[in-house]
Each structure stands twice: as structure tokens, then as C-alpha cells.
């Protein structure tokens, strides 16, 4: 009985991990934040960009503001590898990150070690 219970719990855990970290995330397209207004800023704190899904209109350059509150070095840089943009973020400051006009599509942004992750939808 105990054996069965433990094994079932283990398998449920695996399914839950797969679902929560991979499947559920992929399905969560509907709620990105539209970044058109000046006051919008991305909070860099405790391993997470908040908001981490941002929408921007295609074909025009934009500026995103990042506020880093995490002093650990992981958070120091934000990279948009596909746009060839990167910025060094100062602790406790609001850093503008200028993005060039881009084709519609999905552009991930991460920290250097990819522990912080977010995605930018250009549409």
C-alpha cells in the first residue's frame, strides 16, 4: 500500500513538473503586458522579471525600463540575444534599454545565465 502510494506520488510529481514548467507556460500566451507607456517597468527581483511577458508593436524602436533590485550578479545584465541588445543594470536604478525596430515574432530575454527569463512579443 505504502509502496503504491509513494510511487504514485512520484509519478504525479513528474507529471506536475512537466506540466507546470513546460506545458502550462507554453499555453500562457494570453496575458502579456503591453509596453507602450513610459511608466511601465520590468522589475528584476528574486530570479524573476516582472512582468516577464511583454508585447510591443512591430516596426518601431522602443525603450523598456528595467529596475534591478537583486544585488546578486546574476541579475546584472539583461540580454535580448536575437536583437543583439544587452544592457548592464545598476542595482536600485531604472535603466532604459533601447530596442531597435523588429519584425513580428517572439524574442526571449534573459540574464547571462538564463536563470532570469522573459519573452518579448513583437506584433
Amino acid at each position: 500500500m505504502m509502496t503504491l502510494l509513494v510511487n504514485v506520488t512520484g509519478l504525479v510529481l513528474i507529471v506536475a513538473i512537466v506540466w507546470w514548467f513546460w506545458l502550462a507556460e507554453a499555453g500562457r500566451e494570453s496575458e502579456p503586458v503591453r509596453a507602450t507607456d513610459e511608466e511601465m517597468e520590468v522589475l528584476v527581483k528574486d530570479g524573476v522579471y516582472e512582468p516577464d511577458h511583454i508585447r510591443l508593436p512591430a516596426g518601431e524602436p522602443a525603450t523598456l525600463y528595467f529596475r534591478r533590485e537583486d544585488p546578486s550578479p546574476c541579475a546584472e545584465y539583461v540580454l535580448f540575444p536575437d536583437l543583439e541588445v544587452s544592457a548592464q543594470l545598476a542595482v536600485g536604478e531604472r535603466t532604459p534599454v533601447r530596442l531597435p525596430a523588429a519584425e513580428p515574432g517572439k524574442y526571449p530575454f534573459t540574464c547571462q545565465m538564463q536563470m532570469y527569463r522573459g519573452s518579448l512579443s513583437i506584433e
Binding site: G10, I14, F21, V48, Y65, P71, S72, L79, P81, Q114
Partner: protein, 766 residues
């Protein structure tokens, strides 16, 4: 929270439209009415406003505007910000060390107790009580020293994300929960499994904090190069305004300000010298060790060092527009750019943490179903060890750290690399196409020979005097060489009349009453002047790569002059060095075949493309690429822009001009082909470093995880202690960063010192 932070430290604003003491009052009163302004003071001389208090910047600016003026926040200089960040980092470092010390302070005695044979089992109520107390202490450690792992893990979890925090939190949390369950209800478990693992939780938290502190330290050194560049900026400049000299903060220097620099001071902004002359050391930007003489009309770059004279110059570019600022910007951008080779690592690290979690569960199930007793304890140890030993950081850090150091190192040697992609491609180059003019040669033709005919009454200088006077009116580049040579020899110029340029032949005119003809053989034939034995001489000179012209005075042969674009002093050694690196060199030039071949022979260049039109250069690069080669192109960045862009890696040499910096993959601040060799050596060293890091990180994880899962148990009869797993994980990322830091000792071969490069393999076809 508002967009701007509210601060109590005084802030400075630059004011517009302030002219008199009346304005000062109005602004100060207006600000005084704003809530949260403790003090506002206007400095009329500087036209600045200092505000202290908690009011936001926007409120202050609004108040100034309501009084009818303009205001703009003066941003702290890059340097000050750096310092602030350093302090911040220092604080973070100290707090990590403190957390580490506290956690180890609890963990080490507990572990020692266990190792020295102390009882770690919970059987009696008194043991329950004692271990319960330890458990609460451990909880304190987890919350105070490891709280950030737990909050990070939770926040990431809510965002469907998992990172290193997740692994640490799960590992230490599981160990603590299990131990606490043992303490509270030991009867639930078989006797052999009533073991507590509080020491593991505390030790892991302590070790990982230590690892992060060490990593922070090591990381600080990776940005040393940018730091050095930033230190080139003095915080103040001596500005002459309204006839008065004042020391102003760098941010307040404006275009068209007149700036004075005394001996031993750094040039604060870019500009042009108006008065004085001095030697200026530009080595920090160009890597060129010899100071350059600067006088009226010469350009000065911010960050260079004024050696011996006082200079007064007009500021042309300030702030972010200076060349130094652009270099810093570019280096910083390149340092954090991605390298294509890292793509696999990126893909793996994207799915790394959830995968490790699944492995941990699978390993735990395996031990539960098939493992020996005490199963419950084994399950916990295996699961914790797997979660803790896996290190996404080492994988994620492998490339960025090396790129950071490599690009920075390049900047120290006057080699600006655009991005990680350029760095990687430069390491793979097999063919280098070099534009001759300005790259292999000086780019300024010089007079090399002047020989007189026996029939000419006078010395070589007399002939030069006549020809230089004639050529004064000409715009031909060869004419410039003749005129310059005459100036060098202090020859007096004579009046020229009836000057005429005869297309494709040469020039003619009357100097000092004599009729002169200077040009090629066709000109002599047209004028029916017998060139005699000079023809062979002219051909001989052409064979040496020179361009020779006939000179005739009053219808008789007077002699010849020859000019050539001299080779750069270091061209030969640089070409040899590049060939030793395994590159095949091809030369491009618009010159005629004979001259080009002569230059190529002198330099030992394998292949020459001569008599090219500018647009041909790009085509040749394309053809070479068509044969599947990685082709680099070195040129001056202005005339060769399309070819540079077409090449896999474009090296813009010696210009440091804005155009070059914008278009080239690699910009060389120094006018020497050695820079290309430096860049290639550096890129190879960096790529090798990246590969070592990636290999190390892969091996570490692919070996570490199975060991933690207990595959060695059948042989050793023991499981990997989660504490050892924690230590291994903490050290792995430190190792990666330290290995990247080894690149800081890179020295290009050209500078005479040995470096980490392996000898170049052969393979080039001569």
C-alpha cells in the same frame, strides 16, 4: 511606487533661462512650496539647482517649470554610478559572507558531532527535544541565511520558471522537513531511518553562499577592462567661460566650451586644439606607445594623457558622444553579447532545472523500490544530493564570462570586437584579404628618387625646385608627394605660369621662365623629347613598386622623379605573423599589376588582385567565400566599407572613425596589421577558454548527477553526502569564472611575451 526613486541625498538639476538674481528667488520659492523639499539652492554662476529632500525629480522639475524656467536632472556620471555599484556589490559580498559564516557556524559543529561518532538518531524523547531545538535553529538559518533562495524559488515557480534557487530551496527544504518529521514522529519510520539531516541543510546554505561570494569577487575582475577605460575619464574639466577658468564636473561641459589641459592631466572631452602644443599619450586608446605631437587644429580624444605642454581646446563632443564613451559602450555591449557556440548550452540550460527535478524524483523512486534499507533515509539523501549537485550556473556562466574577459582584453590592446559572433568567426578565419593602401602601406606617397640628366644644368634640388613649383597647382596625389618633399628640403617655391594638366599624360607649365613637362612616356613622345637611357631606369623602378615620371626642361630631358607609397614599418612582420597563425593572405589594390606584385614580393604575400575598381573588392570576397572559406578582410573602413561588410569578419584598421566603429566587426584603434593578428590570437584563446568552460560544465553535471543519484553505491557502499554535493556545486561556478579570468593574462605574440596560444598548425599553401 513612482517611477523615480525618492531620495534624500541632494540632487543637481541644470536650469534653463536663468539670467538674474530675481530668477533665483522665484525658483527657490517655487520649490520651497513643494512638499518634501528640504532645501533648494540655485547657483547662478553654474545655472544649476541643488535640491535635497524627498520630493521626486518630476515634482521638482514641475515646480521649476511653473516658475517659468526649464530644468533637467544632471545624471550622476558613469563613474559615480560605478562607485555606487561597487559599494552595493561590496555590501552584497559582506552580507553573503555573513550568511555563510552563520550557516557554517551551525553546520560545522553539527557535522563534526556526526563524524566524531555523536548520535544523529532520534529514538528517545530527550533526543527528540534536543534535536527539535537544533531543528528550530536550522530553520532560523534557512530563513535568515537562505531566505533569498526560498523567495526566489517561489517567485520563479509562480512564473512557471525554475532556477538555481529552486534547486537549493527544494534540496535544503526537503532535508529539513524530513529531519523535522523524524524529530516529531520517529515512530513512523523504521529505526534505522530515524536519522536527522539538519547539518546538511545548514552546510549547503553556508557553502552556496560562500560560492556566490567567491563568484562575485571573481566576476568583479572580469570587468576590469571596462573599469580601466572608465578610469580614463577625469571627473572634472577646466573650462574657460567668459574669460574665467573654472573646474566644472564633466557632465556640465558643453559643446563649444573652451577647455584648458595642463601637463600631466587627462583630456576630458573630445575637441580640437586652439592654442598651444604638446605631446599626448594616446596609448590607452590605440595601444600605440609613442606619444603624438598635437598642435593647433589637431584632434584630441577624451581619456588621452597630456604630457608636457598646456593645451587650450574647443570641446566638440561631450558626454556619451566622445570616442572614449563610444568605445566603452561598444565594449560593454560586446561583452554581454551571445556567442553562437553557446547555443547548445543555452538550449540545455533552458530546460535544465525541471529536468534535474525529474531526475531527482526518478532516482528517489528507484532507491525506494529497489534500494536497501533504510530506504527512507536513502531516498532523502539521493534526492537532496541530486538537486544540490546539479549546477545550472556553471553551464550558464561558461561562455559569458570568457567573452567578457576576452572582449575586455581586446579593448586593452586597441582591438574593439563588435560582438560574440565576430569573436567566434575571427577564430575560424583561414583567409585574410588585405587592402594595400593605408593598411600595408602608409597611404601617403613619398618621393623616393630624383635623378638628373647630364644635360640638365643644376643639382637634384634645383630640379626638385622647378618640379615642385610646377606641381603646386596640381591636385594629383603624386604631386602632393613632390610638393611635400620640396617642403621637407626647405626648397623655395617659384612662380608658375601657364600651368596645364594634360589628361593621361602629365602636366606642363612655365616656371622661372623655363618651359617644363612632367609626365609619362607618352607625354615625352608627344612633345618629341628623347628620353634616351631613362626608359630602362623607369622600368627598373616600376619593378620595385615605384611610379616614375619623366621631367623635361626647355624641350630637353632633365631627369626623372619616382614616388612610392612606402610600406609600413611593421607590415612585413605582421604578415609573417599572420601566416604563422595559419592564414593565407591575399592583397587587393587599385594599383597596376607591376607595382602590386613588387609590394607582394617584398611582403611575402601569396596572391595579389591588382587594378581593381572599388566595387571589385566586394566581388572578390564573395568569390572566395563561394569556395567555402571563412574570409576576413582588413581595410581602412571608409573606402572598403562594402567589402568589410561582406567578409565574415571585417577588420577596420587604424581609423577609429565613427563609420568604422559602426560597420566593422573588429575595429583596430592602432594603424597596424599587427592588430589583426592580435585579434585573431585573442579570439582563438577566448574560444578555447569557452570550450574548456563548456566542457567542464557538461562533464561536471553529467558525472555529478549520476554519482549523486547513487550509481557508485554498489562499488563504494556509500551515498554521496549532500554536503559534499553542496560544496561541489559551489565550487563549480567559481571554477568556471576563475578559468575565464585566466584569459586576463593573455598577451599577443607581437608584444614579445609568450601567451597561451598553441603553435599555429601548418596547412597554408605557399
Amino acid at each position: 511606487m513612482s517611477a523615480e526613486t525618492t531620495t534624500t541625498s541632494p540632487r543637481t538639476f541644470r536650469l534653463e533661462g536663468v539670467t538674474c538674481a530675481g530668477c533665483v528667488r522665484k525658483i527657490e520659492n517655487s520649490l520651497g512650496a513643494v512638499e518634501g523639499v528640504a532645501e533648494a539652492r540655485v547657483n547662478l554662476a553654474d545655472r544649476t539647482l541643488q535640491v535635497s529632500g524627498e520630493a521626486s525629480d518630476a515634482e521638482c522639475i514641475a515646480a521649476v517649470e511653473s516658475a517659468g524656467y526649464g530644468a533637467e536632472r544632471v545624471r550622476a556620471s558613469e563613474r559615480e554610478r560605478r562607485e555606487q555599484q561597487h559599494e552595493e556589490e561590496q555590501r552584497h559580498y559582506r552580507s553573503l559572507l555573513l550568511r555563510c559564516a552563520l550557516a557554517l557556524g551551525l553546520g560545522v559543529p553539527l557535522m563534526a558531532w556526526g563524524l566524531l561518532g555523536g548520535d544523529m538518531m532520534v529514538n528517545t524523547p530527550s533526543q527528540q527535544l534536543a534535536w527539535g531545538a537544533v531543528g528550530l535553529l536550522t530553520l532560523g538559518v534557512l530563513v535568515y541565511c537562505g531566505g533569498h533562495f526560498f523567495t526566489g524559488a517561489w517567485r520563479a515557480f509562480r512564473h512557471h520558471n525554475a532556477n538555481m534557487d529552486t534547486l537549493v530551496a527544494l534540496g535544503t527544504g526537503a532535508a529539513w522537513l524530513f529531519s523535522m518529521a523524524v524529530v516529531l514522529a520517529p515512530q513512523l519510520l523504521p529505526e534505522a531511518a530515524r536519522h536527522v539531516y539538519f547539518e546538511a541543510s545548514a552546510m549547503i546554505i553556508g557553502l552556496i553562499n560562500l560560492g556566490q561570494a567567491l563568484e562575485l569577487r571573481a566576476r568583479g575582475r572580469t570587468s576590469a577592462a571596462v573599469e580601466k577605460l572608465l578610469e580614463l575619464q577625469d571627473p572634472t574639466a577646466r573650462v574657460v567661460r567668459d574669460g574665467e577658468e573654472r573646474d566644472l564636473p564633466l557632465e556640465e561641459v558643453r559643446v563649444d566650451d573652451r577647455v584648458r589641459v595642463r601637463p600631466g592631466e587627462k583630456i576630458p572631452v573630445d575637441g580640437t586644439v586652439e592654442e598651444g602644443s604638446s605631446l599626448v599619450d594616446e596609448s590607452m586608446l590605440t595601444g600605440e606607445p609613442v606619444p603624438v605631437k598635437k598642435g593647433e587644429g589637431d584632434f584630441l580624444s577624451a581619456g588621452t594623457l597630456n604630457k608636457n605642454g598646456t593645451l587650450l581646446f574647443r570641446a566638440e563632443k561631450v558626454g556619451a558622444d566622445t570616442r572614449l564613451a563610444q568605445i566603452i559602450e561598444m565594449v560593454k555591449n560586446a561583452q554581454s553579447s551571445r556567442v553562437p557556440i553557446a547555443r547548445l548550452a543555452d538550449r540545455i540550460s533552458a530546460i535544465f532545472v525541471p529536468t534535474v527535478m525529474i531526475i531527482a524524483v526518478l532516482a528517489a523512486l528507484a532507491w525506494f523500490n529497489f534500494g536497501p534499507e533504510p530506504r527512507a533515509a536513502h531516498v532523502l539523501v539521493v534526492m537532496t544530493a541530486v538537486l544540490i549537485i546539479a549546477c545550472p550556473c556553471a553551464l550558464g556562466l561558461a561562455t559569458p564570462m570568457s567573452v567578457m574577459v576576452g572582449v575586455g582584453k581586446g579593448a586593452e590592446h586597441g582591438v574593439l570586437i563588435r560582438n560574440g559572433k565576430a569573436l567566434q568567426q575571427a577564430s575560424k578565419l583561414r583567409t585574410l584579404v588585405v587592402d594595400k593602401t593605408g593598411t600595408l602601406t602608409e597611404g601617403e606617397p613619398k618621393l623616393t628618387e630624383i635623378e638628373t640628366d647630364d644635360g640638365f644644368a643644376g643639382s637634384a634640388d634645383d630640379l626638385l625646385q622647378l618640379l615642385a613649383s610646377l606641381e603646386q597647382g596640381s591636385e594629383h596625389p603624386l604631386a602632393a608627394a613632390v610638393v611635400a618633399a620640396a617642403r621637407d628640403r626647405d626648397v623655395e617655391f617659384l612662380r608658375t605660369e601657364e600651368f596645364e594638366a594634360i589628361t593621361a599624360h602629365g602636366v606642363t607649365g612655365r616656371v622661372d621662365g623655363k618651359v617644363l613637362f612632367l609626365g609619362n612616356r607618352k607625354l615625352m613622345e608627344r612633345e618629341k623629347i628623347d628620353a634616351g637611357g631613362w626608359r630602362e631606369r623607369v622600368q627598373e623602378l616600376a619593378g620595385k613598386g615605384r611610379t616614375a615620371m619623366y621631367a623635361a626642361v626647355d624641350g630637353k630631358m632633365a631627369g626623372i622623379i619616382a614616388v612610392s607609397d612606402p610600406l609600413r614599418e611593421d607590415a612585413k612582420t605582421a604578415v609573417t605573423r599572420l601566416q604563422q597563425l595559419g592564414l593565407r593572405i591575399e592583397m587587393l589594390t587599385g594599383d597596376n599589376e607591376g607595382t602590386a606584385q613588387a609590394v607582394a614580393r617584398q611582403l611575402g604575400i601569396d596572391r595579389v588582385h591588382a587594378e581593381l575598381q572599388p566595387e571589385d573588392k566586394e566581388k572578390i570576397i564573395g568569390e572566395l567565400q563561394g569556395s567555402g572559406e571563412q574570409v576576413g578582410m582588413a581595410g581602412d573602413g571608409i573606402n572598403d566599407a562594402p567589402a568589410l561588410a561582406r567578409a565574415d569578419v571585417g577588420f577596420a584598421i587604424g581609423a577609429g572613425t565613427d563609420v568604422a566603429i559602426e560597420t566593422a566587426d573588429v575595429t583596430l584603434m592602432r594603424s597596424s596589421l599587427h592588430g589583426v593578428a592580435d585579434a585573431i590570437e585573442l579570439s582563438r584563446a577566448t574560444l578555447r577558454n569557452i570550450k574548456q568552460n563548456l566542457f567542464g560544465a557538461f562533464i561536471y553535471n553529467t558525472l555529478g548527477i549520476p554519482i549523486a543519484a547513487g550509481v557508485l553505491y554498489p562499488f563504494t557502499g556509500a551515498l554521496l553526502s549532500p554536503v559534499i554535493a553542496g560544496a561541489a556545486m559551489a565550487m563549480s561556478s567559481v571554477t568556471v569564472v576563475s578559468n575565464a579570468n585566466r584569459l586576463r593574462f593573455f598577451k599577443p605574440q607581437g608584444s614579445g611575451k609568450s601567451n597561451t596560444n598553441e603553435p599555429a598548425t601548418g596547412g597554408q599553401v605557399q
